[in-house]
Amino acid sequence: MTQTVSRPAVGARTPLPLDVEAIRADFPILSRTVRDGKRLVYLDSGATSQKPRSVLDAERDFYETCNAAPHRGAHQLAEEATARYEAARATIAAFIGAQPAEVVFTRNSTEAINLVAYALSNAATAKEPAFRRYAVGQGDEIVVTEMEHHANLVPWQQLCERTGATLRWLGLTDDGRLDLSDLSTVVNERTKLVAVTQQSNILGTINPLDQIVARAHEVGALVLVDGAQSVPHQPVDVTALDADFLVFSGHKMLGPTGVGVLWGRYEVLDALPPFLTGGSMIEVVRMEGSTFMPPPQRFEAGVPMTAQVIGLAAAVEYLQRLGMEKVQAHEEALTGYALAKLAEIPGVTVIGPPDTVARGGAVSFTVEGIHPHDVGQVLDDLGVEVRVGHHCAWPVVRRYGVPATTRATFYVHTGYDDVDALADAVRKAQEFFGVVPSSEGVG
């Protein structure tokens, strides 16, 4: 965030902020080969990241030394498991500048968003008046953007269908940015919640959240920020963000699958009814009815994913050792280099911001005359693993008039050699399919 002032010349191989070789040695999977002995060039961290040994060790250590169900039972293992689980919550909370009581563990970002969406519709029928404060109903509006991942779109469509509320959205500009020209009309007195991504998973765009948060709060609306692609890749501080909710997934930030986070402003969480109910989240249970614990326990029904939470804390510690400013600067250097390398290839068009200004490391592109699946297939045969398709953001590819894209995403172990491998493989795909345009680069 603070180190983006001086930008290297486009396409220059300036020294990378992170020691790629040392980092690669921490990731056991990067030593394997793919497709008949090819070096693994993993450019799909945006889908899920690889895991360093310290994360794997933390999970194994929990199971080997103190496995028990936290927050129940009075034996020594249960005490130790509870202590480890809550220490992990504190570590993860500190990573985003939050209080531990504001951090709720979910399965992933998708579940965290659904938790909020269901809490808002459950609020309308809650028995306790205190839980009705944020009820959504007919006449209310929910605002999203055309840039959202399906996980931050479909739950809001469904909330509107359940409650009779209306879904509205902010559109996109041709260069892959949010079109905020109608922000003040789309977000208005009827708006109950604005759900927006901090960093687009397909375009790479980093959104100007301060403007959106300011407008939303002006009209008394809540703001949910999808941090699935930002928290792993840039410093994020919930105080500076000033939103009401932030969600992110552990598996995209070097952590295990099966654990995600819902951060919520405490007074907002405290006024929400539960989503999932059952064990651990109750205060008193009688046959006639039950009362619930305060946050975060109110939203953590059942035995939690303890080992995964502990693994996520280890991932956070790994990222903290590298420094999130450095992680962001590293990816920015790679992104600038990748944009320049791809621009040199005739027929390749980048979908998204063309430079590194307010942009993360998701680089989506099309190759004229070759369907992204076929691009991906040739790349895969060369050991270059990218994502192809609509990236769970179908409205975005539709907006830009393409059926799908090829997407490369970077992380802490990515080096210039990986980007070179990508560019070489794209050229090989063009040769294979016999589509080498003679014109200058289209992008």
Binding site: H373, D374, Q377, G389, H390, F433
Partner: protein, 154 residues
């Protein structure tokens, strides 16, 4: 995986375009990646008098529908569906050359898709058109008024 036969069908698809008359029209998509095909069948009794289509997607999905059309037009629906079963067997062969060898006469150009069976993520691309044909044929056979088209199904 990319046999020259596949690339030929992709570059010069056989019988592409939606034609009248037809008894059923279906639209199938491959939601993980957005491949699409719209497919019509025209029956003469239980014989496939025409299969017409439009689509967009990768070379495998689009070449598959072209090769399929060559195979099934002129055959009865049960014969075409049996061929579809053979194609399914080929897709499940995990690259075993003996399976492709046995099916060569039956599948003609479509046997070139044998290599796809080694790539689980691409099998859906190759099968999409056959699923669409099965769906459209079933609908066409069940249409009581042969001039009423159905469609819009995923």
């Amino acid at each position: 995986m990319y046999q020259e036969i596949i690339l030929d069908h992709y570059r010069n698809p056989h019988g592409r375009g939606l034609r009248d008359p037809f008894e059923a029209e279906v639209h199938h998509v491959n939601p993980t990646c957005g491949d699409e095909v719209t497919l019509r069948v025209h029956l003469d009794g239980d014989r496939l008098a025409d299969v017409s289509y439009e689509g967009m997607g990768c070379s495998i999905s689009q070449a598959s529908v072209s090769a399929m059309r060559d195979l099934v037009v002129g055959r009865t629906v049960p014969e075409a569906l049996e061929t579809g079963e053979h194609f399914m067997t080929l897709m499940q062969s995990r690259g075993d050359p003996s399976v492709a060898e046995k099916l060569e006469d039956e599948l003609e150009d479509a046997v070139a898709f044998a290599g796809v069976s080694k790539y689980p993520a691409r099998i859906k691309c190759a099968l999409m058109s056959w699923m669409a044909l099965k769906d459209a044929s079933a609908r066409a056979l069940s249409v009581t008024d042969p001039t009423t088209p159905t469609g819009g199904h995923q």
